[in-house]
């Protein structure tokens, strides 16, 4: 298993300790609110509290003052973010008494409550959705840190989601490549606090040895290939594909 060094005894802020929401009827640019439910006395009173909102590489930081005197900024509009997708929030508690800000606690992957309806299948490892924006692409994987991967199928394919659920041709041709993309993402992103990453890597370990400890890219890719190969073997993907094609040809 990979190990994380934690020199600063950094703690993790859990999802139930912070509640994000969006202000209703605030115009085109969303404005967020946050309710802190963590024990403020567990941290140094002069530690600084920051909220970050982000989507892809766009990021906006908001200064909430000190842990002992939380002061929400007046302007909480997300006017610097790419709003084309789901917004995620992070929380950081930082010791700024020294020259450099040391992270005391952090939590990532928070989402505003009104955003939750979008992901109606949170218990599933993989969300499958239909999309009209794929052009000539039959499918596309979209993964964001802190969220589960989403497999988008072109809405121009009749009954695509149902086919993905039951059709051996769909499953055999899409799932191995999708799984590979997911595992590469989680290795690349390397966020030890991302629950989804840990779930996916644990899932992968059910098909192969434990994941490589080193960051050696060749070793990682070989391990991923082994996972994909064992995954295909366990579900007889190639045999099922061949059988289905033969049945269709008859």
């Amino acid at each position: 298993m990979q190990q994380t060094l934690n020199y600063t005894n950094r703690t993790k802020i859990e999802k139930q300790e912070v509640l994000f929401s969006f202000t209703e009827d605030c115009g085109d640019i969303p404005e967020f609110n946050v309710l802190f439910k963590f024990d403020t006395e567990a941290y140094p009173p002069e530690a600084s509290l920051y909220v970050e909102a982000h989507h892809k590489e766009t990021r906006q930081r908001f200064d909430y003052g000190k842990v002992s005197r939380i002061t929400p900024p007046k302007n909480r509009k997300l006017d610097e973010l790419d709003l084309s997708g789901s917004i995620q929030f992070s929380l950081l508690i930082v010791d700024e008494t020294g020259k450099d800000g040391l992270l005391i606690a952090s939590g990532t992957g928070f989402r505003a409550d009104s955003d939750h309806g979008e992901d109606n299948n949170k218990s599933s490892l993989l969300t499958v959705k239909s999309s009209p924006h794929l052009g000539q692409l039959p499918w596309r994987m979209e993964i964001e840190s802190g969220e589960g991967p989403k497999l988008f199928l072109s809405s121009s394919i009749p009954n695509a989601i149902e086919k993905m659920r039951i059709d051996p041709i769909f499953q055999s041709l899409i799932l191995p490549a999708a799984l590979k993309e997911i595992l590469i993402f989680y290795f690349w992103n390397d966020d030890k606090e991302d629950e989804r990453a840990q779930q996916w890597l644990a899932f992968a370990e059910t098909f192969a040895d434990t994941r490589p400890e080193s960051g050696d890219i060749t070793e990682i890719l070989e391990w991923i290939d082994m996972v994909i190969s064992e995954f295909a073997k366990r579900f007889n993907l190639s045999d099922r594909l061949v059988n289905e094609i033969r049945e269709e040809d008859q």
């Binding site: 950094r10 766009t58 790419d82 992270l103 000539q136 596309r140 960051g215």
Partner: protein, 234 residues
Amino acid sequence: MKLRKLTSKGLSEFSLFLQNLRDGQDLQTPKYLLDSEEHSELIELDLEVSEASFSSRYEMGKYLAELLKEKNVHSYIGDTGFWSWFALFWFDQLCRVKSGQKSPFQDAHYILSHSFGLRQRHAVFTSWQLVDRYGDQCRFMLSKLSVRGEIAEQMMGSQYILSADGVVRLASRLYTAPGKSGFKAGAGGSGAGSPRRYVAWLGQIKLTYDYFKMTPDDLEALLPSEFSKFLKES
């Protein structure tokens, strides 16, 4: 030409054109898509875009940062049709040429992708984004035009890095060749002190430090000795 955005049909045609080029066909760039009613649409921004020639992605980003300055571009940040229109408009200079033939990279370099790790590959969107935010401090990442190069590949691989001001400014200090338009010798490699090592080091300190707020000087003080050869050349 008046700025528009490509529709999904325009994007499909653009993608097909790229695929045909990759398949070895010798084709004219389908510029008609740029103002055809079927393949593109008018947008709220009323702007004329120049057919200027650029010497680097930095120059292109600079032009765009000026063009879009003080315009309300917020809603276009993740808009595939908007940024891909620019890439098609300037495609002849953005496309790599091999043995006299256009030889494009994968679509994400010209058609803005929504996938992780691919969006930063867009030649136009990323150039604008970096120059708009960092000005000439990002020159070292955008010194080429038709290819991205190793430095951009490494620096743009992590979404957090591009949004951390001190991180980009220290990278500029490390790798920008003084008085030149490009980067220092050795910065395009993968050895000690290279951008690849810089990104790996940032991944380590991210767990301990709040580097989003750190200045380039604060970060420089923490740099391991392997980077000193690039610092000395500043």
